[in-house]
């Protein structure tokens, strides 16, 4: 079958469009009126008026955060039982399913005979994680979740990207645990 040819009609410019000037002034009119409108609203904001009208669409980032959807995959956390111990039973499902191989679990005995195992250590390397969420889906105990709404994940070294069980159970409010500063141990 021969390829179908689509002929796109180029818009014909009329005389006034060809000599640019009216079009240039139209463009300048749009930007200039935007300018005066925004200046007016900014001034009104300073005086505490017209708060409902927006003059800028930007979000002033560290002070203002964009509301995130609850289903957004953000930093991991381990959920806890009533006594504060991790719900995780060290079944190794997440470690197995993780495509980035970034979960390292060492299983241990749980004091309660009804619970078979508990993690002795649970380490997650965020430097490798691809935020696929497979670990959350694989977990039979609802023990790992990605709902902290933390997405300011940045550190000065690779070591700092590795989260231990303590951090996973109680995520630091600032986003990342501040272990070191500029690569130096504080």
């Amino acid at each position: 079958m021969p390829a179908k040819t689509v002929t796109v009609q180029r818009p014909e410019l009329n005389f006034w469009e060809k000599i640019y000037l009216p079009e240039i002034f139209r463009g300048l009119w749009i930007t200039a009126s935007k300018f005066w409108r925004n200046i007016f609203v900014h001034t009104a904001h300073r005086l505490g008026l017209m708060k409902s009208v927006e003059a800028a669409v930007t979000i002033q980032y560290p002070e203002e955060m964009r509301p995130t959807s609850p289903r957004l995959r953000t930093r991991h956390r381990l959920t806890q039982r009533e006594d504060g111990s991790p719900r995780c039973v060290s079944c190794m499902m997440c470690e197995t399913v993780c495509p980035a191989h970034c979960i390292y679990i060492v299983a241990g005995e749980h004091p309660d005979p009804n619970v078979e195992k508990a993690p002795k250590s649970f380490v997650l390397d965020l430097g490798k994680c691809v935020y696929c969420g497979f670990c959350v889906e694989a977990c039979p105990e609802d023990a790992i979740r990605m709902d902290t709404q933390i997405h300011t994940i940045a550190a000065y070294s690779r070591e700092e990207m590795i989260l231990d069980m303590q951090e996973l159970l109680n995520p630091s409010p600032g986003g990342m645990p501040q272990k070191t500063f500029y690569g130096k141990k504080s």
Binding site: L21, L28, T31, K34, F35, N38, I39, H42
Partner: protein, 360 residues
Amino acid sequence: MLEQLAIKTALSVIMVAFVMSIAGLLTWVERKQSAVMQDRVGANRASIFGFRILGLFHPIADVIKMVMKEDFTPSGAQRFLFTLAPVVSVTFAIAAVAAIPFGPELQAFGRTISLQVAQLDIGLLYIFAMMSLGVYGVILAGISSNNNYAFLGGLRGASQMLSYEITLGVAILGAVMVYSTLDLQGMVMAQGKHLWGLIPMWGIIVQPVGALLFMTAALAETKRIPFDLPEGESEIVGYFVEYSGMKFGMFFMTDFIETILVAMIMTTVFFGGWQVPWLFADGIHWPWGGVVAMSHGVVVGLQVLSFVFKVVAFIWFFMIIRWTLPRFRYDQLMRLGWKYMFPVSLANIVITGLVLVLIG
């Protein structure tokens, strides 16, 4: 003699201080104005003791950054020319401002002081000479950097200036014919007349086409968008690609100073300079009759203020243009310069001449 020198020094200090402070402020204005036009907030993070005052500290932060940065000369660069280029650019841009009259003749301390640094009979030619010399900064930077992109930028700068300088000169000839003087102070004086005692006889009224052509060509001279081919951020970075630190800062300031300069020339030649409509040496004469008498000092003050106001308004307008229009392609620029603007400016001269002869 000594007194003359003192007066001239004071005048030039005032002028340079005015131009440099506006140029410094323009880095802030550029950010803020573009932000407001584009529904953004603009630079507002630099703070001293927690005070931000609308980001006004950003120019200061810029200067500190420029001065502290390493001043790098690439290997293979011609060191002398490389250092000379930004100096040439900025010097001639500032020098051109000298011929601009920012006020009328001030009668004070028993003498008449023309508020103008250099009282030249050929003020306009002097300004053009300075503006053309400024181009050498661009070309020298392009040659001496030992960088092909810088070289391309220099080449583009040279050819762009060539194409627009002619239109620049020819477009303003109409105004020269109407006022029959090359002295800028004389030009402003000539614009004090009123048509039927109502409409001020400013250059824009008698030379609308010339004003438009001159403004376009002059904007091309400032090397800013939409005529920023020597720079061309998105393709070749331009003639100053190898510059860093304060040398880059000087090129940066040159663009702003030239913007101010063009605003001043537009004001002086086409928008009545320091003239205020209906304001004469003895006060305001309303066109419908009635006179508001004013003392000499008040009149001069008002006129200087009107000059400053017009210049600031033009700078605002140039900023709007810079943040609205996209860059011309190289061939479009050449076509616009040689095939449209140059013939139209020639026709403008012929028609102006005919009309002048017919009127008598």
